[in-house]
Subunit: 365 residues, 2 copies
Amino acid sequence: MNLRVPGPTPCPDEVLASASQQMINHRGPEFKDLIFRVTSNLQRAFETKNDVLILTASGTAALEAAIVNTLSPGDKVLAVVVGVFGERFAQIAEAYGAEVLRLTVPHGSAAEPDEVRQALKGNPAIKAVLITHNETSTGVTNDLSAIAQVVKEEFDKLLLVDAVSSIGALPLPVDEWRCDVVTTGSQKAWMSPPGIAMVSVSPQAWKAYETAKMPRFYLDFGKAKSYLERGQTPWTPAVSVLFGLDKALERLLSEGLPRIHENHAAVGDACRTGIKGLGLDLFPDERYASNTVTAIKVPPGVDAAALLERLRTRYNVILAGGQQDLSGKIIRVGHMGYVSIEDIDIVLDALQASLTDLGVVQAGV
Amino acid sequence: MNLRVPGPTPCPDEVLASASQQMINHRGPEFKDLIFRVTSNLQRAFETKNDVLILTASGTAALEAAIVNTLSPGDKVLAVVVGVFGERFAQIAEAYGAEVLRLTVPHGSAAEPDEVRQALKGNPAIKAVLITHNETSTGVTNDLSAIAQVVKEEFDKLLLVDAVSSIGALPLPVDEWRCDVVTTGSQKAWMSPPGIAMVSVSPQAWKAYETAKMPRFYLDFGKAKSYLERGQTPWTPAVSVLFGLDKALERLLSEGLPRIHENHAAVGDACRTGIKGLGLDLFPDERYASNTVTAIKVPPGVDAAALLERLRTRYNVILAGGQQDLSGKIIRVGHMGYVSIEDIDIVLDALQASLTDLGVVQAGV
C-alpha cells in the first residue's frame, strides 16, 4: 500500500523495528537516556533552546495544551483561521472560555500579515494569536515568518503555533521566529507512529503559564517540565512510539534539516507540477501551496469517493478526501516525512489511471 | 530483562509484532474494522453493553475524562483515597472546580463499604463517587463490588472507577456492578504498549454528560462516540498501540476471563507466599492485598534504592520503588497481564540473592 494521506504517514522499517522493542520501566535509567536524547534532538529539529515537552496524545491535545497552559477564561485571542485546523484551534480556546476573535480567510488562501496587523491594531486587548502554520485541510502554508514578525516585533503578543503538519518538513526556526508555543505530532513529518505530541515552550509562554487559570491536569506543562528534569514524564508515556521517534530523529538529523526542507520543497513541486500535467487543478492559490500536502480539485462529473476507492482498491494508493465543507470537492495527497519523488510518481500514475478508468477525459494528457 | 513494575508491563512477542505493522489510514476501511473489533472485544472484556471509548492518552487522562465529561464546576464529589492514585483522581476533580470530600484510608488499608455509606448519608449533595479499584501505590484492592452496591443501590450516585490496574486482570463485571465510568490503560492488564486509554460509559453517565459543564475538547466523550459510530476516532489515534491491543485482546479473550482472573489470583498468591517465605513483610493488610501488584516493606537497614539497583544490574529484575510518602519504605512487584508463576519465581530468587548480597540476614530463610 502507498499511504499518502496527510498522517499517519508511512514509517521507515528501522522506525517500526525500533518501535517494536520490548517495554522498559518509564521510571528507570534506560528511559531517562531515551527521553533526554529525544528531547535534545527535538530541540535541534525545532531550532530552539526552549523547553520541548513530550505528551502522550495526538496533535489536537497539543493545541489544547498550548491554550490551557497560557490563557485564562475571558482572555481575548486572535485566531487566524484558514481551514478546519485553524477553526479547531479557535474552538478549543472557546471551549475553555477564551473570547475568540477570528480572522477567517477563504479556503485555499493564506492569511496576509497585514490582515493580522490590522486585527491586532483594532483589538489591543488581544493577549495571544493562534495560527496554523500549515493547514492540512486546504493544502495551504501560512507565511509564519512574516506573521510572527508582526505578532512579536510589532505587538509582542503570545504566539501559539499549530505546526502539526509543518515542523520537521518545512522551515520553522522556532527561536528565530520567536514562536512561543509550537506543537506537532509524531505521525506527521517525524516518520513515526502516532501517539506522541511534541511542544516547545518559550520563556514568555512560561511567564503566561504562571498566571494562566484555565483548568488542566493531564496536559499541564509544569508537571511535564518538572518530571522531564529527572528524565521522566508525569504519566506513563507511549514508550513504543518514543522508541520509534528516537530512531526517526536520528535519521532526520543525520540527513540534516536543510536537506529535509529541500526534499519537501522538491516533492511538493513535483506533486503540483504532476497534478497540473494531468489536467487537474490545484485547490489552493498556488502562491500558498503547501509542501507537505497537496489539495486537488475534483474534476467536474467525478465522484470523489469513487475516485478514492478506485485508487485504493485497484492501485493501492491511499489518498485523503476533503473535510467538512470540502468533502467531495477536493482530494488530498500527503507528502511529509518519509517520502520521495518516486512516491509521488506512483500517486500521479495511479491518479491518471483511475481517472481514465472512471472515463474522465483529461485536458492536459 | 524481567520487567516487573506495575506498568508498562511486558508485551508478548506477537503483540509487539502486531504493533510494528506499517501505518494505515485512520479514516479508511482497515481502521474501521480494527476499531470495531477492538471496541467489541473490550466490551466483552469489560463485561458490559455500555459504550467503550478509545482515547489516545495514558490512564491519567482517562481519569480526567471521567470527571470532565460527567461533572460541572461546583459539583460535590466523594473521593475514596487509599493511596497516590486515589489522591490523583481527587486532585483532577479539584483542578476542574469540583468540591471534593475525601474519604481517606491509611496506606495499606482498603475502604470499608460502611465508611462510604456514612459519607454519602452525611452529604446528600454528593453527585459522584470517585474510587480506585486497585491502588497501585500501596498494593491494595478495594472491594468494589460491595462499595458499588452501596453507591448504586442505596444512593444511586454516579460511580467513576479508576480500574487502570485492575480490569482485564481482576474481576470487574461493569454492568453487574453498575459502574458508570470505568477507565483503564493499554499497558496494564492488557499486555500492550502504553498510549491508549479505554473507558466505558453507562447510560447514566451519558445523562450526566448532557449537563456536565466542565470544559473539555480532546477528551470529550461525545466526540469519541460520534466518530466511533463511523469507525473512527475524532483525532489521530495511536495506531500501532491499537494494532498491539487488537492482538492482545484476541489472546486474552481466547484464554477467557475466568482463566485470566484465576491466573492473576494464583500469581498474586504465589508472590505473597514467596515474599513471606523470604522473611519479608507485605506492606498492605493481607486481606486487601492486590493480585496485580505486591507492595513489600523494605527491611530495616536496607536502602530501597540500593536494593532496586542490585536487582536490576545484577539480576536483570526491574521492580518499582514506593511513590511519594512511601518512597524508600516499600518496593513493588507488578504482576498483571503477561505474567506467570515462573516469572514470580525469578523475582523471588533475585530478591533473595540481592538481599544476601546486601548482607541482610533473613529470618525466614
